[in-house]
């Protein structure tokens, strides 16, 4: 249905809609058919998928042409995110988002020319896979509490520490790592470093998880006295946390667009199924309570999407989008979770089969409320921005 998505809403240009059609067709033909197999195997060929996207010119659409991008705007990345939400595996959606919308933007915006050449260009052709290593056992919600330490040495830093839960960590060629400086305290005591996989870097598979089973999630990524040259630092010395938090504000809007596209697709698929499935002499989808539940959720998805578009509009227009970003991350995460649960239940026993798309969607969608800024952290941010903190 996607009533309020697309060119008719006034948010997207015809060129962006053309982009959407082309990308969606590519994903439907080249990616979606393989998903059941990838999910069963517990991994997917991210390099192959990225290479296909790179060849089509779909990666890094908003980054400057001189950095290997297409010189577009955040709107093209919304289209990209919404197309990823059309896939039945968020292992794919999330891994590509980390690559294209979490790590790549930091290099494009704050990387040195050397970092752009070394990491961004090959990432945008799909030859090079990027992952994001921020969380630690004692630093999940409290990002500033990271204990991984970057000790300044001649020409760079020596990085030591252990990161936990890294999407695509098992596939990655390089990691964006947030580390603290040895003596520093407070918000200006961190650095963000691009660290190639190599000597001193150990990646270990994670424990099995509810969802994201093909995302190559690393349980731990350990860095043991890894030398990182200064030119691979993103943003200034001491400004790592600030750079990271700014980037989160943008990425959360993009993630929200993916979450809402997932919710949209699930509502549509569930409606299709229930219109076919008969109980007590009539299609289940024709029952009033079922219709009302689906319609209520549909209304929530559509209005949340307008919040996402409003946030993008502010970002593109140079206005303050911080609270819109936190609000739409919170709303979209909760909605994706609620919609996925409701749709799972309405699939009856068929949805209980682990490999069924409705089941996978529920398992994958539960992560939105936890990762890249949990619901509670979004509420904390909203309260702080409104001046309501204790």
């Amino acid at each position: 249905m996607t009533v309020l998505q697309g060119v008719r809403t006034g948010w997207f240009t015809p060129a962006q809609e053309e982009l959407r059609a082309g990308l969606a067709a590519h994903l439907a033909a080249e990616v979606e058919p393989h998903i059941p197999g990838w999910e069963a195997a517990g991994r997917f060929p991210v390099r192959e998928v990225l290479a296909g996207l790179g060849a089509g010119g779909w990666l890094g659409l908003r980054f400057p042409r001189e950095h290997g991008g297409a010189g577009g705007s955040a709107w093209e990345h919304v289209v990209f995110a919404e197309c990823l939400g059309g896939l039945s595996s968020d292992s794919v959606g999330m891994t590509l988002t980390v690559h294209n919308d979490m790590v790549a933007p930091m290099i494009a915006e704050g990387g040195t020319p050397a970092a752009v050449d070394r990491f961004l260009r090959p990432a945008l052709t799909g030859e090079y896979v990027l992952a994001h290593a921020v969380s630690e056992p004692g630093a999940g919600s409290d990002v500033a509490a990271v204990t991984s330490t970057a000790t300044p040495v001649d020409g760079g830093y020596l990085l030591t520490g252990s990161k936990r839960w890294v999407v695509g960590g098992l596939y990655a060629d390089a990691f964006a790592v947030l580390a603290r400086l040895p003596e520093a305290r407070g918000p200006f005591g961190h650095v963000l470093l691009m660290v190639p996989f190599g000597e001193g870097v150990t990646v270990t598979a994670g424990a099995p998880t509810l969802g994201l089973r093909a995302a190559g999630v690393a349980g731990t990524v350990d860095f043991d006295r890894v030398f990182v040259p200064t030119e691979y630092r993103i943003g200034g010395h001491g400004l790592g946390l600030v750079t990271q938090l700014r980037q989160f504000e943008q990425e959360r809007i993009i993630s929200a667009c993916r979450a809402l596209a997932i919710a949209d697709r699930l509502l549509e698929r569930t409606r299709e199924r229930l219109d076919q499935r008969i109980s007590f002499g009539a299609p289940i989808g024709s029952r009033q309570d079922v219709s009302f539940r689906l319609s209520r959720l549909r209304a929530e998805v559509e209005s949340a999407r307008q919040l996402a578009y409003t946030a993008i509009d502010r970002w593109e227009g140079g206005a303050d989008y911080r609270s819109a970003s936190a609000a739409v991350k919170l709303r979209s995460s909760r909605l994706a979770r609620t919609v996925a649960r409701e749709c799972l239940h309405l699939h009856g026993a068929a949805g209980q089969l682990t490999e069924s798309p409705a089941n996978r969607a529920f398992r994958d969608a539960r992560l939105f409320s936890i990762s890249t800024g949990s619901d509670e952290m979004m509420m904390t941010t909203l309260a702080r921005l409104a001046g309501w903190d204790d």
Partner: protein, 400 residues
């Protein structure tokens, strides 16, 4: 002052015996509780969480066998004489069943409890009128499943495609069932099948049949374990191809009615189990919030977290009370289908809510397969369908 006077002159009544007769959960049978606890302590391997997370081999037969051998199933079955305090055998048995299901909600993330409940409160209960089978079921040497649901429909059991047939003078049954609890381990199957040709009685409609898988060939009865996201390894699909019928438990037209009467009991006991599961997950969440530190202090120091946990504990208490009232009504024989449906509906909503919030409080750790809340959420979705879906419960409540 008048209060004091009226109290003083009120007739003296000893309410205690009355209360204990009606209250299966009051004065818990300490001896039984000790035996259950000893059983759990003595079987660490059988009850290891990993074994119930491995879809290939949850040790269902071994568990039921061991429980039966320890006499724990029989003790939770109404028989014999009233207790010393005047409680009826039924009251005593259901009191112990509450203890059993509550204890099993606390081991191995509650997973083995599903298999126990299917054996005791579903299959065996439906065979109450068959003393020749009861011994094996209560001794745990024979296992049983109820097979009603079909791939083409579970909510509406009046349109079954499984059919009763006849081969010479023996009755047979043919059809497909799926999502049948304990089916991969079942000796006996209670099969709901349509009987348009009146093989089982003078009327048409669903009949309830007994099939002994041990007496059927692999071709006649084929059971495949299903890869469900909840109840890992515990459900199966069944192909029946002219499978021999051992007995007709309810003739055509009576099968569904028999099940509807039975479901009152099953739904109340499911509510007991689901509430105990919710309590176990909540306890784990509270202890997690005490220990997990963010921003330099325990999670539990945040008001949001405390209020959420307080609200959830109130909901658990509420549904537990409703469940215990359900058991009281079962003891008295006065539990209505609508009341049982209210219990089951509330418990199903509760379990998923508690599990979902507990995952959230545990962050990435809660997203790990086998975290108590993660397991409970997966099982919770299954329990919102098994034994009658939420929507079916709402229809039943409306019907009264």
């Amino acid at each position: 002052m008048t209060d004091t006077v009226s109290t003083a002159t009120a007739p003296q009544r000893d309410l205690a015996p009355l209360v204990t007769r009606r209250e299966p959960a009051a004065n818990p049978d300490q001896d039984y509780a000790d035996r259950v606890a000893a059983f759990v302590a003595a079987h660490p391997e059988l009850l290891a969480t990993d074994r119930w997370e491995d879809p290939a081999v949850p040790p269902v037969r071994e568990l039921i066998g061991a429980l039966g051998a320890a006499g724990l199933l029989r003790a939770a079955w109404p028989a014999g004489t009233p207790g010393p305090d005047g409680r009826s055998p039924r009251c005593l048995a259901l009191g112990r069943a509450i203890q059993l299901h509550t204890a099993f909600a606390q081991v191995a993330n509650g997973a083995p409890g599903a298999a126990v409940l299917t054996q005791l409160e579903v299959g065996t209960r439906l065979l109450t009128g068959h003393p020749e089978l009861l011994d094996g079921l209560l001794d745990g040497t024979v296992t049983v499943s109820l097979a009603a649901t079909e791939p083409d429909g579970g909510s509406d059991l009046s349109t079954l495609t499984t059919r009763v047939g006849r081969d010479g003078d023996r009755l047979t049954v043919t059809g497909e069932k799926w999502f049948i609890s304990n089916a991969p381990f079942a000796d006996l199957l209670l099969v709901l099948a349509d009987d348009p040709d009146r093989h089982t009685g003078p009327r048409t409609g669903p009949a309830l049949l007994l099939v002994d898988t041990r007496q059927a060939t692999a071709d006649e009865v084929e059971v495949t374990a299903l890869a469900g996201s909840g109840h890992t390894g515990l459900t199966g699909s069944i192909s029946l191809r002219s499978a021999p019928v051992l007995a007709v438990l309810a003739p055509a037209g009576q099968g569904l009615l028999t099940l509807m009467r039975h479901w009152i009991h099953e739904r109340v006991m499911l509510t007991v189990r689901m509430t105990a599961l919710a309590q176990a997950v909540l306890d784990d969440a509270v202890s997690g919030a005490r220990h997990r530190q963010t921003f330099g202090s325990p999670l539990l120091t945040n008001q949001h977290v405390r209020f959420l946990l307080a609200e959830l504990s109130a909901e658990v208490a509420e549904v537990r009370s409703a469940a215990l009232q359900g058991v009281r009504l079962l003891v008295e024989g006065g539990c209505t289908a609508a009341y049982a449906a209210m219990c089951k509906y509330r418990a199903s909503v509760l379990l998923r809510r508690v599990a979902d919030e507990a995952i959230q409080l545990a962050g990435a750790d809660g997203y790990r397969t086998g975290h108590p809340a993660e397991r409970a959420l997966r099982d919770g979705f299954g329990l919102a369908l098994a034994g009658g879906t939420d929507e079916l419960m709402l229809m039943q409540i409306e019907r009264g």
